[in-house]
Symmetry: C2
């Protein structure tokens, strides 16, 4: 399998990317990696490492798109950016998957413009894996589409099911509709119509899930529009981070609590790791016609290696073709 | 001031309600309370207490609406419920404010049907006070209206400003629009149009607030539709509660961490209290033509007393008339 990776994506690139690729080469025997970026910059990073030189190559790309740039404008203007070059390698058949820890918007835009959507999918979606109390879950869409129609949510559910079954190896995952009440008739026009569509579909639809129950992790696939999904994602991140910072501050307030804090250090480290969604690998763009894995902007080498593992699972399970088959069927039905 | 209170609302009624009323009588000299409920039940509770008998009376109401009943159906069918009877006392001029810890939907429905909306307000909203790291904040609407228009969000902002200035005594509170990006052009149709309206208004609008920043409490009034607001509210509750239950579980896992847990007990108690939004009094229905305070379903006597304090602040500051004046002006403008 050949993987194209944006050498300049993320806060710690190119070092994190290069180190992550080398970690991945040690773990997975059957991969080759193409890193995009300024040739001399990437080669300089690589020269510090010991690795099989036949397995990593560099594709020169002079421009870098920053997360602050307007995605569509940046992708159109910087045709030779590290992101667009990496995506183009998939389009040209030179790579089987693409990974970037750079701008989510620019990566999604480039993927849509260059690789296109799967037939039957109107709106590809972002679906990062998140840690729950009783297991991991995804929220689809987590922010790619601020406005959605009921059929989009059904498509999200079907793609999510395929992702869980093939990449995470969980059979018949539970699908829930994020809603502000448990009863079928609750919510807005989108949720009411989506409830009906999901009930009639062949996913394991368990009904509405109220936001207070999302992070239990009892339901694996939660569908909603990208505005609500992004709100869920960012509330999760914000509340968890605020609680931990308050705990830290309170612990430092007197000697007894400081001592308690020292004794609980391993506990907090474990929990913080569990709640840090950056630890949980990359987020696939579900519905793009190609394997695209978005790694977190703050990815370190391990996170990059995990994103590569995820790309590999997509590839080894022929997931894009499997999804295409299921969503084509959806299209003819609705 | 005369306050009508639903004697059978909430998980711990009628005891919590009666005890809360008696606590309030001790603290506030100038109030009289009318408790609705089966006369013998309420009088029996009251008979256990020592209080000024001229200050509390009972209005007989035979029926109780449970939180599981369909709000509109229940209010229409149970005309003699404790909730509707309490609201009716305000309409009839026998009370100046109404409080219930019962079904939010039924209380809101009864308030709208019996007291009506303020002129200029299309959609009254729910606005519970929530604890943030650097101060309290409200999310308007927190769940009364699943679908909203831009002008509703502007009305929420103006009512929220009046609430903060008069009840919480914070001058020129900061108003933010909950959105999935910081830039003006981010979000869905509702947020894009609302951004413009809010920018042109006379509230202290500071722009978009991403959900990860809501619980910092740096912005006092956060406006959004009731679907998003309810999602924020329930995510806050769910994530906080899950983190604390995981911490508890991890602490119990070995002797050292158990000891650490004992040393940190006061710290956790403080923080849990800070993050428990039930501690922070009732939620007003902003935009109803009358003082309606919804106390949390799990209210204890202290929470009921705090809801009474809030009703009193509304009354003492003539807040309903002040709001009416400001929103009438809005109406003629938009």
């Amino acid at each position: 399998m050949r993987i194209a990776i944006d050498g300049m994506g993320g806060d710690h690139s190119p070092n994190s990317v290069v180190q992550g690729c080398i970690m991945a080469l040690k773990e997975f025997k059957d991969i080759e990696i193409i890193i995009t970026g300024k040739e001399d910059t990437i080669l300089k990073e690589l020269s510090k490492c010991d690795y099989d030189k036949t397995k990593i190559s560099v594709e020169n790309a002079e421009e870098v798109i920053s997360p602050n740039e307007h995605p569509v404008m940046a992708v159109r203007r910087k045709k030779n950016s590290t992101i667009t070059t990496a995506v183009r390698l998939v389009k040209e058949g030179k790579a089987d998957a693409v990974i970037s820890a750079g701008s989510t918007g620019a990566f999604l835009t480039a993927s849509l413009l260059i690789l296109g959507r799967m037939k039957g999918i109107d709106r590809p979606a972002l679906a990062p894996l998140m840690p729950g109390v009783n297991g991991n879950f995804i929220v689809v869409d987590s922010g790619a589409n601020a406005e959605c129609k009921p059929k989009n949510l059904l498509q999200f559910a079907v793609m999510g099911k395929n992702y869980f079954e093939n990449v995470l190896e969980i059979e018949n995952p539970r699908v829930g509709l994020i809603n502000i009440g448990a009863e079928e008739e609750k919510g807005n026009e989108l949720t009411k119509a989506s409830y009906k569509l999901l009930s009639d579909s062949n996913v394991n639809f368990i009904g509405n899930v109220e936001p207070r129950d999302i992070t239990s992790g009892d339901v694996q696939i939660l569908v909603c529009d990208g505005f609500v999904g992004n709100t869920v994602l960012k509330m999760y991140e914000g509340v968890a981070s605020n609680i931990f910072s308050i705990i830290k501050k309170e612990i430092m307030s007197n000697t007894i609590s400081k001592l308690g804090g020292i004794l609980l250090k391993p506990v907090f480290k474990n929990i913080k790791k569990k709640f840090d969604y950056k630890e949980h690998g990359g987020a696939p763009f579900l519905g793009v016609d190609g394997i695209c894995i978005k790694a977190h902007g703050s990815s370190d080498a391990l996170a990059i290696k995990n994103a590569i593992r995820q790309a590999k699972k997509f590839y080894d399970n022929d997931l894009i073709n499997k999804m295409k088959h299921e969503v084509e069927y959806l299209d003819s039905d609705n």
